[in-house]
């Protein structure tokens, strides 16, 4: 089973855990109803749509409210550290959490107390924490965008805000940034890079590139990286190999974006509604 851990942008939102459902434009868990806007709710919604399409169960989620003060994230780190050792998830995806090195370290210890180490996927703040900790290689997949790839490539930057200019200027040289991230051990086993073109890479270099359909407006839309991470997480959990899952996810995410007929003001929920159609089409072509 897939588990997803992250935050929602509401300070008073309590820690909740359990299976989750998608109800039009909201996800529902326990008595809570959360608008799917961007961030972890968008990732979860995309994973639900993907799991539905594959005939798989909905993901298990761990959520807490945090608007950037870090209090909710700290509580969730502790909760995960206490509860994950007794769990048996096959895939774990960590998302919008305040990047805190010592909590990342404790969580890694808890993960290694599980009977079997799940496939580990990290994006957003949790990926920053993994990089800051110097423990990126413990993960199976990171899903950075191009700005975050530059951060991974800069061995000195503790956060994308401090990425050095000469590295940011290299954004058209994705393969160099990927190589630099691996040289300094700041990359997971696989990197799925979202951008004008999407890339899958490992330590050997770029393995796959997907650049169609091309919708320029998607770059401006908040949440397209979240949906990509949600789709690939659910595909991997279904048993698909990471390389194959990444290619299917890159294609399906772009196609869902295309079907949404996006402008720079389109919101991510409109893309999420098209995931089943796009994913089915990509999976049919694959057979």
């Amino acid at each position: 089973m897939l588990a997803i851990a992250g935050t929602v942008p509401s300070e008073g939102f309590p820690i909740v855990s359990g299976e989750i459902t998608l109800d039009d434009n909201h996800i529902r868990i326990c008595d809570e109803r959360i608008s799917v806007n961007r961030g972890t709710p968008a990732l979860i919604a995309a994973a639900i749509k993907t799991a539905e399409t594959l005939g798989q169960p909905a993901p298990f989620v761990y959520l807490v409210g945090d608007i950037g003060r870090g209090k909710g994230s700290r509580r969730l780190y502790k909760y995960l550290t206490d509860h994950l050792p007794q769990s048996d998830f096959q895939t774990l995806t960590f998302h919008y959490l305040q990047p805190i090195v010592h909590w990342h370290e404790r969580l890694q210890q808890a993960l290694h107390e599980m009977k079997e180490l799940p496939i580990l996927i990290a994006d957003a703040g949790f990926m920053y924490a993994a990089k800051m900790s110097g423990k990126s290689s413990l993960y199976d997949l990171f899903t950075p965008d191009i700005g975050e790839l530059a951060f991974l490539a800069d061995e000195k930057a503790p956060h994308p805000f401090y990425t050095r200019g000469f590295i940011l200027h290299d954004e058209n040289r994705v393969s160099d940034l990927i190589a630099r991230a691996y040289t300094h051990n700041n990359a997971a086993r696989f990197l799925l890079v979202k951008g004008k073109q999407d890339y899958l890479a490992d330590r050997q270099g770029i393995l796959e590139t997907v650049d169609r359909p091309m919708e320029e407006a998607l770059e401006a839309m908040g949440g397209t990286g979240d949906t990509l991470t949600g789709i690939v997480s659910a595909l991997i959990d279904s048993g698909m190999a990471i390389r194959e899952a990444a290619v299917v996810a890159m294609k399906a995410n772009r196609l869902a974006g295309h079907y949404a007929k996006p402008t720079p003001s389109t919101q991510i929920i409109e893309v999420i509604h098209h995931i089943p159609e796009a994913l089915s089409e990509i999976l049919k072509k694959r057979v």
Binding site: E219, M221, S265
Partner: protein
């Protein structure tokens, strides 16, 4: 022992190895009196901070610095500005010479313009000044900032400096200022 070595030596149990200070920053002040005032304010508000000696790379300011959680730089800066004791500098512990991002990528979509600063992107409708999208980032205030800003005009929207808390919020503030420069008369 170097200052960085001293930090490592003082690590709490359960905290990480070689990169244990990677999420910490240093604040430099004009004088010791400001350091003491800032320490009192921040401790009273519950932040985990420590007063330390400065690393050799920091030449300016007084002979004491405050170590703080780097990710929460924006929230801490706002607090100290309100108290009238803004620091001279805020830098990462592990690389005190690093500077905040100062490169902007601007993309013109015709009716919309998008500005990216580091990992944060802000998109505005040119004719109205409406903020139509916020994307990128990884700290938990990003979805909150997007919720508060999208749908508002550049003139009316709360600035990330006012309501953000993290370095992602800070990067969005830089994008916000740049898009104002591009769009507002």
């Amino acid at each position: 022992m170097s200052l960085l070595g001293f930090f490592k030596g003082k690590r709490k149990p359960g905290t990480p190895g070689d990169n244990g200070n990677a999420d910490r920053g240093i604040m430099v002040f004009e004088n010791t009196s400001e350091v003491i005032q800032a320490e009192n304010v921040l401790k009273r508000k519950g932040w985990e901070i420590r007063v330390m000696g400065p690393p050799p790379e920091i030449q300016s300011g007084c002979d004491l610095v405050i170590e703080f959680p780097l990710i929460e730089e924006l929230n801490i800066l706002r607090t100290l500005e309100r108290e009238g004791i803004p620091p001279l500098e805020m830098v990462p512990v592990t690389s005190p010479l690093l500077q905040p991002v100062d490169i902007f990528h601007i993309k013109d979509f015709g009716e919309h313009i998008m500005v990216r600063a580091a990992n944060m992107k802000l998109t505005v409708e040119k004719a109205t000044g409406n903020i139509v999208n916020v994307s990128g980032g990884g700290c938990p205030d990003v979805p909150y900032l997007a919720y508060e800003m999208v749908g508002q005009t550049l003139a009316d929207a709360p600035s990330p400096r006012e309501i953000g808390h993290t370095l992602c919020g800070y990067a969005l503030q830089l994008a916000f200022e740049e898009v104002q420069r591009q769009c507002l008369p």
